[in-house]
Point group: C2
Chain length 235, copies 2
């Protein structure tokens, strides 16, 4: 089978720095993790916060730490370094080959959505961001690999898109429709489509930093097993 | 402008573990680095070696260390941890927004190629891999950003493809042709094409682990500045 990950990120309109950070980390026992974080506020300070959080998370994942420990350690780090004054959301979506499951660790005000050919789940239990509360635990979920599975999450720039113009949030059902009508082959297209929907609601001027992550599990591609990475980084 | 990176990697035929590792790291002062490493031997031991090397490099880059220091520190780490007994190649290609240059750090037996609309350079000076010699320095090169620029490197599974069947290495001129006939927009296509050429020479059964990295500098895309990441991870 194949794990496919697509991510898209954009900064609040007219801001040089994006307060969201996203990254990937290869897991030493096999598999890959996608990490997204939204630092408190926006601009350079938020950029540094979310960068630190994601860099620390990728370092721990690369060293083999389990996801629950990663979220706790990154929280403790931010809590100590910023003297409990700065919050940050953190969502880690891991396709773990040892357990053959997708492990989701959420400290975010945005949902994580799982869509497979058999079922749909929306994980949106209330949970605090990291960095500000003494006692912090991530919300953890685990779902077995299924071909055709899609796991989607995003930051609140997506969830609240359009609020400035219409007074209400982005239509969650519309986001679900975008996910449902595509396949796990098209993770990058789905990420891009959700972002384009949010930008459309914000009249092409993002009201906040926006990040989308889409992870898919697909059947094998024919031919040699080729791992691929692609990045586009505008400046 | 935009930085685009495409990477492709495959394991030696019938090997479960790939001894090459590749990864990306966002630079805290802006820009992005691509890292490739080829661990001594192949299979699980080589996989662990190159994973450690790349994980350590991405950690240091994420913490803001300059590339020359990264190569030295990663060498010292491998030299200490493996008691100077295990070698690994390391190539770091960084598009650095602070200096607006591409910085290349090579400890590899394979060349790094720069092709722009104005000139072509092949950096293939002799340099030792990391991990085994007390005094190690990376070969460093720095070239200013130019729209249309392509920077390409690979591991020796590509350079030596076909040797098993024909007794001689892959045709370097053929690799240059693949690079020349495409544009910096198509980094992933170029990476994939070079790998497919090498697999063709090896009769679709890779004689060694193979990795290709292609970095391109392009003009702006229209619309919002959207950063994108995509990964395909077969298992």
């Amino acid at each position: 089978m194949e794990i496919k990950i697509g991510m898209a990120k954009t900064a609040k309109y007219a801001n040089e720095y994006c307060g969201d950070t996203c990254d990937l980390a290869e897991r030493p026992h096999g598999g890959i993790s996608a990490i997204i974080a939204d630092g408190q506020g926006n601009g350079l300070a938020a950029h540094h916060t979310s960068s630190w959080v994601v860099t620390k998370a990728t370092q721990l994942i690369g060293d083999g730490a389990r996801d629950g420990a990663v979220a706790r350690a990154v929280h403790d780090y931010l809590y100590a370094m910023k003297d409990r004054k700065v919050s940050c959301t953190l969502t880690v979506i891991s396709a773990d080959l040892e357990s053959e499951t997708v492990v989701i660790s959420r400290n975010s005000n945005c949902p994580t959505i799982v869509v497979t050919p058999e079922y749909e789940s929306v994980y949106d239990d209330e949970v605090a961001p990291i960095g500000v509360h003494r006692h912090m635990k991530p919300r953890m979920y685990e779902v077995p690999f299924t071909p055709g599975m899609l796991v989607v999450s995003y930051t609140d720039g997506i969830a609240h898109a359009g609020r400035k113009h219409t007074g209400h949030d982005a239509d969650f059902e519309k986001i679900m429709e975008i996910i449902r009508k595509d396949t796990a082959e098209d993770v990058d297209y789905i990420a891009r489509s959700i972002m384009e929907y949010a930008l459309f609601l914000d009249k092409e001027k993002a009201s906040d930093d926006m990040t989308v992550v889409v992870l898919g599990i697909t059947e094998d591609s024919p031919g040699a097993k080729i791992e691929e990475l692609k990045a586009v980084y505008p400046f």
